[in-house]
């Protein structure tokens, strides 16, 4: 599979515009972990005008809460968590400048619209491939909300982190495209292609 290489920080608009659902990417550079509880706090901080754990502009958030690191390792197993739980918060973060999200599973219509409007991208990683993905993490550091344990915000430096473009700025959705290609039951009540 040929891969598109992406380097962070700062995912700029020209890169985001070039990405299409189905593209396989390898991400290198800085990404941040945040999941349910951290999202709640980040959005609260945004609303109150308080300082954020990191500047959202041009950044990628990885929806993940790692297992503890064994001694001598940067991080424990770390695969994506299910993204729909962050749907209530994602549009607000995109509005504030966030560019990329890495997770697993489908997004709701509001997030898909916000991705188009604010020029963002949603990447799907292979859910559950956590030991495999941990190998791509070169360093990890808790930068905020330490009290949340696995849900704390971490700054990761990754190398060749593999993912697929799921939702692009053109409104395409890889989960839908993939499913419609292989579906053998035509039942719009179940799933519309």
């Amino acid at each position: 599979m040929s891969a598109i290489r992406i380097t962070t920080p700062i995912l700029d608009d020209s890169v985001v515009e070039s990405l299409k659902a189905g593209d396989f990417v390898l991400i290198s550079g800085v990404i941040y972990t945040a999941r349910d509880a951290a999202h709640k706090r980040i959005v609260e901080a945004l609303e109150k005008g308080e300082e954020l754990p990191f500047d959202l502009k041009g950044q990628i958030i990885y929806y993940a809460g790692p297992a503890p690191a064994k001694p001598g390792r940067p991080i424990g197993s770390v695969g994506p968590t299910t993204s729909y739980r962050m749907d209530p918060y994602a549009p607000r973060l995109l509005e504030a400048g966030l560019k990329g999200m890495i997770g697993k599973g489908s997004r709701n219509q509001e997030v898909i619209e916000a991705i188009k409007e604010y020029k963002g991208v949603y990447f799907g990683a292979v859910g559950g491939a956590a030991a495999y993905l941990a190998r791509c993490v070169k360093s990890a550091e808790v930068i905020a909300y330490e009290d949340l344990g696995p849900e704390a915000v971490r700054r990761l430096v990754v190398e060749d982190f593999p993912a697929f473009v799921v939702n692009d700025i053109y409104g395409n959705d890889l989960y839908k495209i993939g499913r419609c290609q292989y579906m053998e039951i035509e039942d719009p009540a179940l799933f519309k292609c």
């Binding site: 064994k70 989960y175 039951i185 179940l190």
Partner: protein, 281 residues
């Protein structure tokens, strides 16, 4: 009466928590091989390769296969001729879970109460424990590490008896279809049919402990398992949800007699991180 010290239970539970999370059962690994052969999508085949590699890394480095090391669901089948001595059994189980999750570098994913504090308990306790008294003087302890992603996609319905076989099938298929890519396919589908509201959920979970490829001993239910598997694999969801022919590795049905007015059905979805392990004392 055979006496078993609860401290022995603690040690076994600790070991089970760690090993279940590092080593996927052989039946699941075999199902990945089979799945890759059956899968038509190149991306899907690639996902199977990644999962196999993931299992290999986890086992050789003794790190968790998935970062969500789950709720510790413990099944105890206790022979009626056994007496536990040396302390409180439930405390010993929870101590085993706490030690396994802490010393095994497993993630702690349990919050103290569901609604108000949601404070992480810090050691993955309490476990969910199911006790069953059986004849004999042995104790069988099974640990299942149940991840949140696939558990969240599970459902229960109290159907009408008139809904029958078709109604049950529709409900199972709809549940899997709606879950889509979320529960980390390829999945295993545990289906409970009959009993009461709480019994049917238990049956669905229990069904997931049966090895992949082993059919229900009742040929009618065995056929239902096969038919459901075939239908589910027509949904197109595929490995990781990127599209493909292998959405489920297997479907397991467990049933129980039920009330003349009822037809309860529960669908417990298990992700590819199908982690469970048992030991007999």
């Amino acid at each position: 009466m055979r006496e078993i010290r609860v401290d022995e239970v603690r040690k076994v539970v600790k070991k089970l928590c760690m090993e279940a999370n590092y080593y996927l059962p052989q039946d699941v690994l075999n199902a990945f091989e089979e799945g890759k052969k059956k899968e038509a999508s190149p991306v899907g085949k690639n996902v199977f390769d990644i999962l196999k590699e993931n299992a290999k890394i986890a086992a050789t480095e003794e790190i968790p296969y998935c970062q969500d090391t789950g709720f510790a669901v413990i099944f105890l089948e206790i022979g009626q001729d056994v007496r536990f001595v040396g302390g409180n059994l439930e405390e010993a189980i929870n101590r085993g879970v706490a030690e396994g999750y802490t010393e095994g570098y497993l993630r702690k994913s349990i919050v103290s109460d569901p609604l108000f504090d949601r404070r992480n308990t810090g050691n993955n306790t309490p476990a969910v424990i199911h006790y069953r008294i059986v004849p004999g003087d042995k104790v069988k302890i099974t640990m299942a590490a149940k991840g949140g992603g696939s558990e969240n996609m599970s459902r229960l319905a109290m159907l009408k008896p008139a809904d029958g076989i078709e109604g049950v099938k529709k409900f199972v298929i709809r549940t899997v279809s709606d879950a889509g890519p979320n529960p980390c396919p390829p999945i295993t589908v545990g289906v409970g049919i009959g009993g009461t509201f709480e019994k049917v959920a238990y049956l669905a979970k229990k069904a997931l402990l049966r090895p992949i490829g082993h059919r229900n001993p009742d040929p009618r239910y065995a056929k239902l398992e096969e038919e459901l598997l075939e239908e589910i694999n027509k949904l197109g969801i595929g490995p990781s949800g990127f599209g493909g022919k292998v959405t489920a590795l297997d479907v397991k049905v467990e049933w129980y007699p039920c009330h003349i007015a009822s037809l309860p059905v529960a669908v417990n979805i298990q992700c590819h991180a199908s982690r469970h392990k048992e030991i007999e004392l």
